[in-house]
């Protein structure tokens, strides 16, 4: 079927453009009016033709517009970008019409018919979303079952930890060499102490809050934060181990990596919560949250190791030889020559691993830790607030989407910043 053959042959392309754009705008207008005002201006046409009318008209219009060169910038752009062939014209129309059809119901559900006022379910009278539910439960989604009057402790702990994370930027030139030491050793310890003393409490006159009460988004942050910090150095060691010349070290690393990469995280979490306590001495107690963090760290370290190994393998042999010929030992060579270059190469891969880690944290829900997915499940089954699962999941999805999208964009920027021509 080639409709462009039936195009009216005129010496003046302007007429074609006029006819084409008229038909195209008619088609778009038809769909627009129908979806926004529920007004069917082509209702005089019989059944199926009525349905496909805008598609046919728009298609003919686009094939009128399509030409090599018209001299009008807009038309040339349209032809080049959305209308290069019949097939593309059809897809273009389908996309435009789908968007036009989808906007009104989505808009009315999310904004126009939605309710946000009030404090009870009774306030939700509209046919749209009930954002009141999110508003009422917001603190629970953020802080879990943590006591309301103590939320400042979580907030201030996060602010402190983030502020300490930026300290590295302000290091003086002569302190720069301790930067890695700071981030790998000192920072995690300080962060742990802050979170332990401020969020858990128990000393300095703060009330003890057990980890079972932690939850919501803040728990997601705590778990991902510690896993991120710990899994990176562990992964680095494993990657070096896998490339080691010592057979024992090499095979232990390989077994470790392949084992963790082969099992799903959910079974690892089950193991950490069910099996692991059995191997501990009778009087020894380890908090469930700590066990889960250890499990996720061990799991993600294997993925991290594989990514870093990729970077190590990508370096040319000459770098190793050059470092050795300068008289550097194994550790010196790796710390000053190999790892800086290798890590630069694998920034996107590392960022992907970290993203996967953040996206995996909702899984701790299955062992009974109520982070945001867990809180949603709780709120959903609350007898006073039945029937708002959709709003809850959309809310959580938006939050996670923003976090993950920001992370991926940041990693892209980092990649561009450290990109060096090789």
């Amino acid at each position: 079927m080639n409709i462009s053959l039936s195009k009216i042959k005129t010496s003046n392309p302007i007429i074609n453009i006029y006819i084409g754009s008229f038909l195209l705008s008619l088609a778009i207008f038809d769909v627009f009016v129908y979806s926004f005002f529920n007004l069917n201006i082509t209702s005089f046409l019989p059944g199926n033709l009525n349905l496909f009318f805008p598609l046919i008209i728009g298609f003919i219009g686009l094939s009128f517009i399509r030409m090599e060169y018209s001299g009008i910038k807009l038309v040339d752009n349209i032809n080049k970008h959305i209308n290069p062939s019949n097939f593309n014209a059809l897809l273009t129309l389908l996309i435009i019409f789908t968007v036009l059809k989808a906007i009104p119901p989505a808009l009315s559900w999310m904004v126009l018919d939605a309710n946000i006022s009030g404090d009870t379910k009774a306030a939700c009278t509209g046919t749209g979303a009930c954002w009141t539910y999110i508003k009422v439960w917001f603190k629970r989604f953020m802080y879990g079952m943590y006591p309301n009057e103590l939320h400042w402790r979580i907030n201030s702990a996060f602010i402190l930890v983030i502020a300490l994370g930026f300290v590295g930027y302000f290091f003086k030139e002569n302190l720069k060499k301790y930067l890695a030491l700071y981030y790998v050793v000192i920072y995690p310890i300080i962060a742990f102490l802050i979170i332990y003393y401020l969020i858990s409490g128990g000393s300095f006159g703060l009330v003890w809050v057990e980890t079972g009460a932690w939850g919501g988004l803040s728990l997601t942050f705590i778990v991902s934060f510690f896993c991120l910090i710990f899994c990176f150095p562990l992964g680095m060691i494993l990657a070096l181990g896998r490339r080691s010349n010592l057979p024992a070290v090499k095979y232990v690393s390989i077994c470790y990596i392949e084992f963790w990469r082969g099992v799903p995280l959910i079974t690892v979490l089950f193991m950490s919560s069910v099996m692991f306590p059995m191997f501990l001495p009778e009087d020894f107690f380890m908090d469930k949250l700590v066990r889960v963090i250890i499990a996720i760290t061990l799991f993600e370290a294997a993925y991290c190791a594989e990514v870093i190994r990729g970077g190590l393998q990508a370096l040319p042999r000459g770098q190793y030889d050059a470092a050795k010929s300068l008289g550097m030992g194994y550790w010196k060579m790796h710390i000053f020559v190999i790892l800086p270059q290798a890590l630069k190469l694998v920034i996107p891969g590392i960022a992907n691993t970290f993203l996967a880690l953040v996206k995996d944290t909702p899984l701790i829900f299955v062992v009974g830790l109520a982070e945001i997915a867990g809180m949603l499940a709780l709120a959903k089954t609350n007898p006073k607030w039945l029937g708002f699962a959709m709003e809850g999941y959309i809310f959580a999805a938006i939050i996670f989407w923003i976090i993950c999208y920001a992370m991926s964009k940041y990693s892209y920027n980092l990649e561009q910043k450290y990109k060096t021509e090789r």
């Binding site: 959305i82 082969g262 079974t267 299955v366 699962a389 989407w401």
Partner: protein, 351 residues
């Protein structure tokens, strides 16, 4: 371990499982052993993975190609699709489909048929089941068709190498695939009947569909979420693969006189597949491992049935978690080994 009163052993596998499963592929009831429960649950896991892999491949290839389209709208819609589904945790997506989207479906009594004979309801998707007569004749015809296609391919390749002639292998294959099974219907005495799902009233307000195959909503939610999520990664692999082929290859192929179809088939695809297949296999593995999230919405897969119910009943934590992990490990390692073998086979042999 001893001082906690735990005895280690696999004897429990022979005991009666005495729990029921909502959805099984093979016959199973509470009187069967734990070992059989394990097999049935493993099959459920494999079913989800299999369906997920098929759908995510189809979607992923379409989106991946669309990301390279010259059409501005298509390119950007595909890019937004990838950014959207990739950045939302899989568990949330599964929950969304299961608790929010599928709960909005109609009850069985008010369900409108899709395609005339299938019903999408809140209790699941009901499709007609097939009742075969002389199924083995049909299957042997199908196998014969596949075997003959393989031989024709080999012959066509030899013919091309020897004389430079090209057989229309594709059309011959399609023809064989249609004609041989059709013959089995006409001569072989194969009969195919469909059992349609029929609405049945259980009580005043309780309706149910009987007959046919019922796909439970857990399965649908899981397959939809897994394939949407994984398809974004497959799409990125496909895009990287096609972009990895330098323009010169295409131009060189065109300059020796190949037509666009031949360029795609003989020059671009073999090279692109070399880049696409290893990371895509990785994604398939991830999908298989992610299918264990089924436990969160109570789809009876390996983790829920074996590492959940069976573990609670027997208390054999070490053995059961060990077996479960070993199963996933076996699947992963065997696919990885297969992939390594394939990689070796197709890698560029440099002199």
């Amino acid at each position: 371990m001893d001082n906690r009163g735990i005895d280690f052993g696999f004897g429990f596998l022979k005991q009666e499982a005495s729990f029921d499963m909502q959805f099984t592929l093979l016959d199973y009831d509470g009187q069967d052993s734990y070992a059989w429960a394990y097999v049935v649950a493993l099959l459920n896991t494999l079913l989800v993975s299999f369906l997920g892999i098929i759908f995510c491949t189809i979607l992923g290839v379409i989106i991946g190609v669309a990301r390279l389209s010259q059409n501005f709208l298509i390119r950007n819609s595909a890019a937004w699709y990838v950014e959207f589904f990739r950045n939302i945790p899989l568990l949330l997506q599964i929950f969304f489909w299961y608790y929010a989207a599928l709960r909005a479906l109609p009850l069985p009594e008010t369900a409108e048929p899709w395609f005339g004979v299938t019903y999408m309801t809140i209790k699941g998707y009901y499709i007609p089941s097939m009742i075969w007569e002389n199924l083995n004749v049909f299957l042997s015809c199908l196998i014969a068709a596949i075997v003959s296609i393989i031989f024709i391919r080999i012959y066509a390749r030899k013919l091309q190498e020897r004389e430079g002639k090209q057989l229309p292998v594709f059309y011959i294959s399609i023809g064989l695939l249609i004609i041989l099974p059709l013959l089995s219907f006409l001569i072989g005495g194969v009969k195919l009947d469909f059992e349609l799902p029929v609405l049945k009233q259980l009580a005043q307000t309780s309706f149910i569909f009987e007959g046919g195959i019922a796909l439970p909503p857990e399965l649908i939610a899981l397959v939809v979420a897994l394939s949407l999520y994984t398809s974004t990664f497959v799409a990125e692999c496909v895009r990287a693969g096609i972009q990895g082929i330098s323009k010169g290859q295409k131009e060189a192929a065109a300059s020796v006189g190949l037509n666009p179809n031949q360029i795609l088939k003989l020059v671009i695809m073999p090279q692109a597949l070399r880049i696409i297949i290893p990371p895509t296999t990785n994604q398939y593995l991830n999908l298989t491992k992610n299918s264990s999230l089924a436990a969160a919405i109570a789809y009876p897969d390996l983790v829920l049935v074996f590492a959940g119910t069976a573990l609670m009943q027997t208390g054999k934590a070490i053995e059961i978690v060990g077996i479960t992990m070993l199963t996933y490990l076996t699947i992963s390692l065997s696919i990885a080994a297969l992939m390594n073998w394939y990689n070796k086979r197709i890698e560029i042999k440099e002199k």
